[in-house]
Amino acid sequence: MANLSADFIGIKSPNPFWLASAPPTDKQYNVERAFEAGWGGVVWKTLGSEGPPVVNVNGPRYGAIWGADRRLLGLNNIELITDRPLEVNLQEIKEVKRKWRDRALVISLMVPCDEDSWKDILSRIEDTEADGVELNFGCPHGMAERGMGSAVGQVPEYIEMVTRWVKKHSRMPCIVKLTPNITDVRKPAEAAKRGGADAVSLINTINSITSVNLDDFSPEPMIDGKGTHGGYCGPAVKPIAMNMVAEIARSADTRGLPISGIGGVTTWRDAAEFMALGAGNVQVCTAAMTYGFKIVQEMISGLSQYLDDKQIGLSDLVGRAVPNVTDWQYLNLNYVAKAHINQDDCIKCGRCYAACEDTSHQAIAMSPERVFTVMDDECVACNLCVNVCPVDNCITMVPMAKGAVDPRTGRRVGDYANWTTHPNNPSARAAE
C-alpha cells in the first residue's frame, strides 16, 4: 500500500485529504469524528474577530442541483463564518490538536481589513498549537457585504496587504484561499505570493442561484419569500476549479507556489486529478456533506491502489500533468482521430446518432437494424458521441497513424504543426 503521508508547506498529515473550512469543521465533535474516520487534516471553519458572533439565517442555508437518481451534483450555501463564540472555538481547537498530533489542523480566519484586527486574531490563536492559518478571502455572500471574504479576495492589492500583515504578526504557515469570482485567478495568486503567502488554496465557492421557486418566484434557498446568491460547490464546480489550479501551476509568475486544491473533490480520482495539475493536497467538503466522513476511506484506498499500479510516490504525482496543460494555439493540428463504436458493447440506444445527426457533423450512419457506424469521411473526432454514450468505453477515439490518409480531408496525417505556423493564421510565424 502506497505511503500517502503528505508534507504541505511543512504541515504533515497521514494523507493528503483535508476537510475544507466549512460546516463539517465547525466544532470539536465533527472534527474528531472526521479524524476517527481517517481524514488527514482539517481547516477549521472560519473564525472571526472577538465579540458577538455572526448570526445565520434560520431558514434553509443550502440549495442544490441533482443528476439522475437525485445524485447531488452541486450545492450552494448562504451560511456565514462560525457563529460560535471565539473562545469556545479556540479551546476546542487546542484540545483537538493535543489529542490528534499526527493530523493537520489549520485555522481559517476572516476579520475586518485592518492590521490591528489581524494582529489581534493571530495572537489569540497563537497558543492553540494549530499548524497554520488559511485566510478566507473567498466567501462570496454575507461577509463580502461587510467588506470581508471575497470583497478582499477580488482586489489583489488587499490580498497582498493582508497577507503581509499576517506574515508579519505570525510565524505560522499561511495559506491564502482564493475566490473564483474574478476574471483571472492568476492575479490574486500573484498578489498572495508577493505578500509572502506560503500557499494558496482554491477555489472557494462560486456566486450562484441554484433554483427558482416557481410558485413563490424566489431564488432558492428561500428565506421568507426572498433568496440571495450563495456559494456554489460540489462535483459541478470541479472543472472550473481544476482550470484555475492549472493556471496558477503553469503561470511563470506563480509556478512553484504550493496549492491546496479545492472544488468538487468526491473520489480518489478527483483528488489525483487535482494533484496532477499541481495541487500538493486537496480539501473536501461537499462530498463529506453528501455522504458523511466515511468517504475518505475510498479516497485513501483508491489513491493508494493508483500509486501502486503506477509505481510512483505521492510527490511524483503532484504537478505531473502541468507540462501538458498548454494554450490552444500549441495543440497539434495535424493530429487526426476518428470515433470508433465497439459493436459488442453497443446497446443501440442511438444517442450518438441523434447527437451527431442533429447537432454535429452527420458522421454516424444508422442501419434499419439499429447498427450505428462512424463514417470516417465525415467524422471530425469531436468526441460528442463519446460523451453522450451511456456505456463507458463503447465509443473511443482512435488516432490515425502518421502518413495515413484522412478520408475526410484526403490529406496525409503529418508531423506536429500548430496554429502559430498555420497558413490560415494571419499572424503566423514562418516555421523554423
Binding site: 443501440k348 444517442r351 444508422m366 439499429r370
Partner: protein, 439 residues
C-alpha cells in the same frame, strides 16, 4: 364455513375470509412518486426508440418517461393516451416483458429494462386521480357509427370516432362494458374496479352511447346496423371456446376457463366462489395461467397446468409462467388429455405424453393420470356467430369491406392482446373518419 384446501369437491370458502383480500390484492403494487422518479431516471431517451417500435400502439415512451422525470406526469398521461386511450389498463395487463421492455436498451445492457409498464401506470393513474381527460370533441359531423363490442377494440374505436365529432353507439352483449378487461383478465391485475373506472373515464369524451345486453345476430343484425349507421365497427372478440375433444369432456366439473374467470371477476365475495380441491387447467396461454393462479388463490390444494407442447411454445409469457409457478401452480409440458375420468363428475384426467413430429403432434403410448375434481379448458377461443356475408380468414374476420370495419381479437392479423385491440380500434376509427369525411 369449515372448508379447507383439503375439502373434496368444488366448494367455496376454502380459506379464512381475510386471505381473499390479500390473495387478490394488486399483483404489482403501483410505484409511488419517489419510485417513479427513480425508475424514470433510468431511461436513456433513445433515438427512434426500440420500445416505441415494439409497442403495438406506438406510444412515445421516451417522451412520457421524460415528462414523468420532470414532474409532469399529467403531460405524460396525455402522451400515452394520444396513442392508446386504454393506456391505464394496458399498463396493467400488457406483457411488457415481450414488448416494450424486451426492446429496452437497458435490457440489452443490464438485463433490467426501464419499468415502462409501471411508469405508464404511474402517469395514467396520476392524471386519472386528478380527473383529467385531456381530449375535446371536434365539432359534430352528424355522422353515426355503430360499434359492436365494448371491449378494448370497440372502446378505443369509439373514443377516437367521438373525438373526431362522430356520434357513436356501442352495442355490447354483456351487462357491462369493458370486454375482456372486465370479464377476462385475472382479478389481481386490475383491482379496485379499474376496468369500469376506465370505461367511465373514457366516456367523458361525450358522444358515445353504450347499449348493453344487445347481441349481434340475436337482438340486432348487421344489415340493420349497416342501414341505420354511416359505418359499422365490429370488435366482437372471440366468443366461442375450443372443445377438448377428449372422452368425458361433458362430465360435471369440466368447464371453460373463460367462464370461470368471468364469474370470478363479477363475484362480489370471493369466499362464496367454489373451486375444486384438485384443479387441472388444460392449455398454455394467458387464460390458462389466469385460471390456474386464481384457483390456487381461492384455496385449491393442487393446481396443475397441462400443455400439449413444450415450454417454449406456451403463449403465456415467461413472466406469467414464473408467476404461476411462484403461486404454487405446477406446469406440465408435452402432454395432452385423453379422457376425463369419473362417474358423472370429474375425478381425474388421463393424459398421454406427446411427441412433436414432422406430421404434427403425436400421442405416445405412455400415459399418466392427474387427480381432478375441477377441469378448466383453456385451449383457445374462436369466432362465433359470424354474420353472413363477412369474409373469414384463418378463423377470423378478414378486414374492412364496404361500410364494415373490424378489429381486436375477432380480426385477422396481430396478436390477441389488449394493446393490439386498442391499436386496431384506433386505426379503424381513423379509417372510418377518413371515409366519412373524405379526408
Amino acid at each position: 364455513m369449515s372448508n379447507s384446501p383439503l375439502t373434496p369437491g368444488i366448494v367455496p370458502a376454502r380459506l379464512p375470509v381475510a386471505s381473499y383480500a390479500r390473495n387478490f390484492a394488486d399483483h404489482t403494487p403501483p410505484l409511488d412518486r419517489h419510485e417513479a422518479r427513480v425508475a424514470a431516471d433510468r431511461c436513456y431517451f433513445c433515438h427512434d426508440a426500440p420500445c416505441i417500435t415494439a409497442c403495438p400502439t406506438s406510444i412515445d415512451i421516451p417522451l412520457f418517461i421524460r415528462q414523468i422525470a420532470t414532474g409532469t406526469a399529467e403531460a405524460a398521461a396525455t402522451t400515452i393516451w394520444s396513442q392508446n386511450i386504454l393506456g391505464g389498463m394496458c399498463a396493467r395487463v400488457c406483457p411488457t416483458e415481450t414488448l416494450c421492455e424486451e426492446a429496452c436498451v437497458r435490457e440489452t445492457a443490464e438485463g433490467k429494462p426501464v419499468e415502462i409498464g409501471q411508469l405508464q401506470r404511474f402517469a395514467t393513474d396520476t392524471a386519472m386521480a386528478r380527473g383529467l381527460h385531456p381530449f375535446e370533441r371536434a365539432a359534430p359531423t352528424c355522422k353515426r357509427v355503430a360499434v359492436v363490442g365494448a371491449g378494448p377494440a370497440g372502446l378505443s374505436c369509439a373514443h377516437r370516432l367521438a373525438l373526431h365529432g362522430h356520434d357513436v353507439v356501442v352495442f355490447e352483449r354483456r351487462p357491462k362494458a369493458g370486454g375482456l378487461n372486465e370479464y377476462g383478465i385475472a382479478s389481481y391485475k386490475a383491482t379496485g374496479g379499474f376496468a369500469q373506472r376506465e370505461v367511465d373515464w373514457l366516456l367523458q369524451i361525450g358522444g358515445i352511447e353504450i347499449r348493453t345486453g344487445v347481441e349481434l345476430g340475436r337482438d340486432v343484425s348487421l344489415d340493420q346496423l349497416k342501414a341505420e349507421y354511416d359505418a359499422v365497427f365490429l370488435g366482437v372478440g372471440l366468443a366461442g371456446v375450443n372443445a377438448l375433444r377428449a372422452e368425458g369432456e361433458d362430465k360435471a366439473g369440466v368447464r371453460d376457463a373463460v367462464d370461470f374467470i368471468a364469474e370470478l371477476r363479477q363475484s362480489e365475495d370471493l369466499s362464496n366462489l367454489p373451486v375444486g380441491r384438485d384443479v387441472v387447467v388444460i392449455g398454455g396461454g394467458m387464460t390458462a395461467v389466469d385460471a390456474a393462479v386464481q384457483s390456487k388463490l381461492l384455496g385449491a390444494e393442487t393446481v396443475t397446468i397441462v400443455y400439449r407442447r413444450g415450454q417454449e411454445k406456451m403463449s403465456a409469457s415467461g413472466y406469467e409462467q414464473d408467476h404461476a409457478v411462484q403461486t404454487g401452480v405446477r406446469i406440465i409440458h408435452n402432454a395432452a388429455p385423453v379422457r376425463v375420468l369419473g362417474n358423472g363428475h370429474a375425478e381425474g384426467v388421463e393424459f398421454a405424453y406427446t411427441e412433436d413430429g414432422p406430421g404434427g403432434l403425436n400421442l405416445s403410448a405412455e400415459t399418466f393420470t392427474l387427480k381432478a375434481d375441477q377441469v378448466f379448458k383453456a385451449i383457445g377461443q374462436t369466432l362465433s356467430g359470424t354474420p353472413a356475408g363477412l369474409a373469414v380468414e384463418g378463423g377470423k374476420l378478414a378486414g374492412h369491406s364496404g361500410k364494415v370495419w373490424v378489429g381486436g381479437d375477432c380480426a385477422a392479423g396481430g396478436e390477441d392482446l389488449t394493446v393490439t385491440a386498442v391499436a386496431e380500434g384506433r386505426d379503424a376509427a381513423e379509417a372510418i373518419h377518413a371515409a366519412l369525411t373524405g379526408a
